[in-house]
């Protein structure tokens, strides 16, 4: 293609040839034969108000244009809280080791949480609204609520789910489930469900009471998650799995129409790792955390059990 007789020739040839892209960048835009009347020629055209769809709001704010205001009023939910009041710390080796093994003796002493000493006082408050509250009975009803909530997941109906699940849990369960199909089956429970922890808390005012109960559920389940196109993404349709979970149920006691609903799950750090997703994927970049935002978020619930002291005063 190139004549390689003289090396100097090649150098000149390369310089002269420019790609079309480079030519467009460097050629002069104005090519009129008389540039003297350029400004007057501009006045022949009207300036229409062209809308700016391409630029972002950040660039517009720099220029001085206000960002668009949105009048979406966010709803405030009073029927559920967004946190776990006094998280139960499950002992290590719970599902694996038996009572008389070394592993249990080493680290499996139940760590005392703050308000286990005041358990009966919390119970009294719950029995004021629910006179027929029994711990053993409640554990079985809680398990049934757990089964109902997960079996309704596959029908994409958030209004039905709110009967069994609080808004906090619906956020977590529903968001990633929107464009997928889920097949979930409950096979059997390996151990009886046990109530482990009871807490009540006030929200700002004396009369607002919320109650949370943690239940330990050991069961066998089948879970299969399918893609938007029907491909298996996680789990399997035939192999069951043993599942140990500490599930939190919540009730708004001062609401006459309140009911026990699934609120959250406590996943201990020593639990076994999840099975990997079937398809490979690239790790996303880590999110940046807003330190200022985290300081501003203050829970409306009091962190004390000070409302329990008043019960003794009423007695005496």
């Amino acid at each position: 293609m190139l004549s390689i007789i003289n090396k100097r020739n090649i150098f000149l040839h390369q310089k002269l040839v420019k790609s079309l892209y480079e030519q467009t960048l460097t050629r002069p835009l104005a090519t009129h034969w008389d540039p003297k009347f350029r400004r007057l020629r501009k006045n022949k055209f009207t300036e229409p108000t062209l809308l700016d769809f391409d630029s972002n709001t950040k660039e517009k704010v720099k220029r001085g244009i206000e960002p668009p205001t949105s009048f979406i009023y966010k709803p405030i939910n009073i029927t559920s809280s967004k946190e776990i009041f006094d998280p139960y710390i499950p002992p290590e080796g719970d599902g694996k080791a038996s009572l008389f093994s070394k592993e249990f003796a080493k680290g499996a002493v139940e760590k005392i949480t703050k308000s286990t000493s005041k358990k009966f006082k919390h119970l009294r408050l719950i029995k004021k609204s629910d006179s027929n509250f029994d711990e053993n009975l409640f554990a079985e009803t809680a398990q049934q609520i757990y089964i109902d909530a997960h079996s309704i997941l596959s029908k994409r109906d958030p209004e039905e789910m709110l009967n069994f699940v609080t808004e906090n849990a619906l956020m977590k369960m529903y968001h990633n489930m929107k464009f997928k199909t889920i097949r979930w089956k409950w096979i059997e429970s390996l151990e009886e469900p046990v109530v482990k922890h009871l807490v009540t808390r006030e929200m700002m005012v004396k009369t607002d009471l919320y109650a949370q109960v943690t239940v330990r559920i050991h069961s066998k389940q089948i879970l299969a998650v399918y893609d938007r196109f029907g491909r298996l993404a996680f789990g399997s349709d035939t192999l069951p799995k043993d599942v140990l979970e500490y599930v939190v149920f919540e009730k708004h006691l001062s609401d006459p129409y309140g009911s026990w609903r699934l609120h959250d799950k406590i996943i201990p750090s020593w639990s076994p790792a999840k099975t990997p997703v079937i398809r490979s994927f690239a790790l996303p970049e880590p999110y940046k955390t807003d330190d200022e935002l985290e300081k501003r978020i203050v829970s409306k619930f009091k962190g004390d059990d000070s409302h329990l002291e008043k019960i003794q005063e009423e007695k005496s």
Partner: protein, 236 residues
């Protein structure tokens, strides 16, 4: 229940897919059903009837040619296909993406869009980055956005295992202005906007995307098959 079974068996022969409707921003936070005016579910139609209606809407709009609006194109991304027994999906996985109200005439935008059809995404990005038109760089941005969407939201596995099966540029709207000529003569000036539509599919690009039949006999056969595929709208 038996009626539902029959309906489902009849419907299995046609396409089954469920379209996810938009979820309201406000969640009603009362637990009781007495406050909410819910209609009786027995009077409502089954899920299959609703699916059939919505799928019929899209099919009719496609026939009439008004499907490529900037509202309906990304709704294809919300269709959910049911899982199959074999494991192979009913339809090759795809992603729809677009950019609307681009300040560029559609006639010029159409040329790089035509160039891309049938290419793999890596080659398309390479070719567009050295194209002389401004529209090509806009198309490149759209392709990169679509690639990100596919990886994160639609469960595509590899970044470069995609190809472009559909790309066009279409007029959207024009703003009219006026210019002055020599002596009390006015002329119209149009400032043009367009939209650009793209569909990415998973897999290697097919080898015969652009090839047409080479012999006259094969071309005649294709033409006759096209004519026989037609269906008359609103016929018995």
């Amino acid at each position: 229940m038996f009626n539902n079974l029959i309906k489902s068996l009849n419907f299995l022969s046609h396409n089954i897919y469920h379209i996810n409707r938009s979820i309201p921003t406000v969640l009603f936070h009362t637990n009781s059903a007495s406050f909410v005016n819910k209609q009786d579910k027995s009077l409502e139609e089954d899920d299959f009837d609703l699916q059939r209606k919505e799928s019929a809407k899209i099919k009719n709009l496609e026939r009439l040619g008004s499907i490529k609006s900037h509202i309906s194109w990304p709704q294809y991304n919300r269709i959910i296909y049911p899982p199959t027994e074999d494991g192979k999906p009913i339809r090759n996985p795809f992603v729809h993406h677009m950019r609307h109200f681009v300040k560029y005439p559609a006639k010029k935008m159409w040329y790089p869009a035509l160039m891309i059809r049938g290419m793999s995404i890596d080659e398309a990005i390479k070719q567009l980055s050295f194209h002389r038109l401004k529209g090509a760089h806009i198309i490149k941005e759209v392709l990169l956005e679509a690639q990100d969407l596919a990886l994160k939201q639609h469960n595509f596995e590899f970044k470069s295992n995609m190809w472009i099966s559909y790309s066009t540029a279409v007029d959207s709207f024009r703003v009219k202005g006026v210019r002055k000529h020599r002596a009390m003569r006015l002329g119209m000036v149009e400032y043009k906007y367009c939209t650009y539509y793209v569909r990415l599919e998973e897999g290697a690009p097919p080898p015969n995307y652009h090839l047409e039949a080479e012999t006259y006999e094969a071309r005649a056969k294709e033409y006759i098959e096209k004519l026989r595929k037609r269906s008359i709208y609103l016929s018995i």
